[in-house]
């Protein structure tokens, strides 16, 4: 069982400060799979009051949450999965705009968590950041932290030497470099944990997936992906939602067909139907999810095409 409770101490401290004495609304923002829930757990502990906690997992749930007068008579509200508050289509911001209004007019303290790509998009379209006094972003992790976390969850005895090497090195010069340069260097390393850190972008959720799929053996992440612009756009929606109903994707890509894009994203190992079913199998429903181990490659591809900013 994973234990992220010891990570992100300085971010937790910022969160505690924001919620103590005169509490302010806080947005917790991170890359997909990076562990936002850890900070929301901290917020719930810190609020020390009757807290309503909701984890959204679909657009329908988000609509229902905002339509319902769910925040009345509550002193504190924690909402996870805020990326489901909008859909990228005409009239797709109504739910988010009503949510922002409620946050602005409520006496309750709100702690919300957002996928960073969805957050960047939402704050540029609806100025959602105006109602959150504090924005806490989760940082990338260094190789030693990633290695220690993996060692606490998996059997890493075959990589004991690599683990020991990182622990003995202690404070490393490479960790003070900008992320892009650091990961570029670590990707070439012989140390398995450094390569996993590079392939995961210092993101623990992705690192777990990379470790489980032993992806570091494949080598570098050169982008030879042959995706059309439409396929890449569907991927950008997936990156910002992490998992989404097929019907939502259909409204976003309409009038183009979704099936070809999903097939190509599946073949390129970017996406899968939740539950591991064949992506072309259930055409009437199901949820499509982003494969965590491919997040870095997906984001690199989208940045090159300017589909994420």
């Amino acid at each position: 069982m994973s234990d992220d409770s010891t990570l992100f101490e300085s971010e937790k401290e910022r969160l505690r400060e924001a919620l103590s004495e005169e509490p302010t609304n806080v947005a917790v923002v991170s890359e997909p799979f990076a562990g936002r829930e850890t900070l929301v757990d901290t917020a719930v502990e810190e609020l020390d009051t009757e807290t309503r906690r909701t984890a959204l997992s679909s657009v329908t749930e988000a609509d229902a949450l905002v339509a319902d007068d769910a925040f009345a008579d509550t002193e504190a509200v924690c909402v996870e999965g805020c990326e489901y508050l909008y859909t990228r289509r005409i009239d797709g911001f109504e739910t988010l705009e009503r949510f922002v209004e409620k946050v602005a007019s409520s006496d309750a303290t709100f702690v919300v968590s957002w996928n960073s790509y969805a957050w960047e998009y939402a704050r540029r379209t609806t100025e959602v950041d105006a109602v959150f006094g504090e924005v806490v972003s989760l940082p990338t992790l260094d190789a030693e932290t990633v290695a220690d976390s993996l060692a606490s969850e998996y059997d890493v005895s075959e990589f004991e030497d690599d683990l020991e090497e990182l622990r003995q090195e202690g404070d490393r010069f490479v960790d003070r470099l900008p992320d892009r340069l650091r990961f570029g260097l670590e990707e070439k390393s012989d140390n398995v944990f450094e390569r996993i850190t590079a392939l995961s972008g210092g993101n623990l959720g992705v690192a777990r997936a990379v470790f489980e799929s032993r992806l570091w053996k494949e080598g570098g992440e050169d982008d030879h992906t042959d995706l059309s612009y439409e396929d890449a756009f569907v991927l950008s929606v997936l990156v910002s939602k992490e998992a989404v109903g097929r019907e939502v994707l259909e409204t976003v890509v309409s009038p183009r067909s979704l099936e070809t894009s999903l097939r190509k994203l599946s073949d390129a190992e970017f996406a899968e139907l939740e539950g591991g079913d064949d992506i072309g199998g259930d055409r009437d429903g199901g949820r499509v999810s982003l494969r965590p181990e491919r997040l870095v490659r997906a984001v690199t591809h989208l940045e090159r095409r300017r589909l994420v900013w």
């Binding site: 797709g92 911001f93 540029r124 612009y229 756009f233 940045e303 090159r304 300017r306 589909l307 900013w309």
Partner: protein
């Protein structure tokens, strides 16, 4: 009495022909000069191909990298010319002076347009009114600059026509550059609705169509806006937004227009009566 002949200014200050030692031109010198220019051509083409390939790897730095294509070509050809006039032909300073005088006369007599194009090309390379990859209006043509040569600039229009515009056009006509070296550019679609249409709803639809387009580029400096103009017999909605890549301009415009019109029809937001609007507008 001193006889003054027409065009004497062209040769003023130049050495007398009898003072200029002849240039020794044999087959090997000509072959060497041709070889130098052939090598320069291959180097320029290879560098151009390599830089173009590199630039296409990312939208963000495409135009910045492509900026070096004409500069590289210019440097390569100048070096080649220097090498031919120097080590290959081994011209003395008197011969170079005489050569420049002959060149001046030739330009005056017939190839001044070509010279203007070359000077235009040099100015374009260094002053950079536009770069390869920019969307520009040159003369009567609008499109993406795909090459800046010594003599001309090539544009690919939105209809995929390749247009070659002489470089001297830069001196004689205004040049409109839509993105000035940036990968994004502003696109301004316009929509017309009937005077009694629900204008707030129409603005909301247009705004959402821009914000949710797959081609939009949003940042703190690149915002979306929709302005309303009240005409006689119609209302005009002028939208402004940035497309993420200049190459997606047409697709962005089409995507937004198609979805706006679809929504207007779905919600009964009517277009103006064109005939009435024209009559009222006089």
């Amino acid at each position: 009495m001193v006889a003054v002949y027409r065009g004497a200014w062209l040769t003023a200050g130049l050495p007398e022909p009898s003072d200029v030692p002849p240039v020794e031109l044999d087959v090997s010198t000509v072959v060497a000069a041709l070889f130098v220019f052939a090598v320069a051509y291959v180097v320029a083409r290879t560098a151009s191909y390599g830089l173009t390939w590199l630039s296409e790897q990312t939208v963000e730095r495409r135009i910045t990298v492509k900026m070096f294509v004409p500069i590289t070509k210019f440097v390569v050809y100048v070096v080649a010319l220097y090498y031919v006039l120097g080590p290959v032909l081994d011209l003395s300073s008197t011969q170079i002076l005489a050569f420049s005088g002959v060149l001046g006369a030739v330009l005056g007599l017939g190839i001044k347009d070509l010279f203007a194009n070359i000077v235009g090309g040099v100015v374009i390379v260094f002053e950079r009114p536009y770069r390869i990859g920019d969307m520009v209006e040159l003369g009567d043509h609008y499109g993406e600059v795909t090459d800046i040569g010594i003599r001309s600039t090539k544009l690919t229009t939105l209809d995929d026509d390749l247009v070659t515009v002489p470089n001297y056009v830069f001196f004689t006509e205004p040049v409109s550059n839509s993105n000035a070296g940036e990968p994004e550019m502003m696109v301004v679609p316009e929509f017309y609705v009937a005077p009694d249409a629900d204008i707030d709803r129409a603005v909301s639809v247009v705004r959402d169509a821009l914000l949710t387009s797959r081609y939009v580029y949003l940042s703190d400096e690149h915002e979306v806006s929709v302005r309303v103009f009240d005409g006689r017999g119609y209302r005009k909605l002028r939208a402004k937004a940035y497309v993420n890549d200049v190459r997606n301009e047409g697709a962005f415009r089409t995507d937004v227009t198609r979805r706006v019109l679809e929504k207007f029809e779905e919600e009964g937001i009517e277009s103006p009566d064109v005939a009435a609007a024209v009559l009222e507008d006089g």
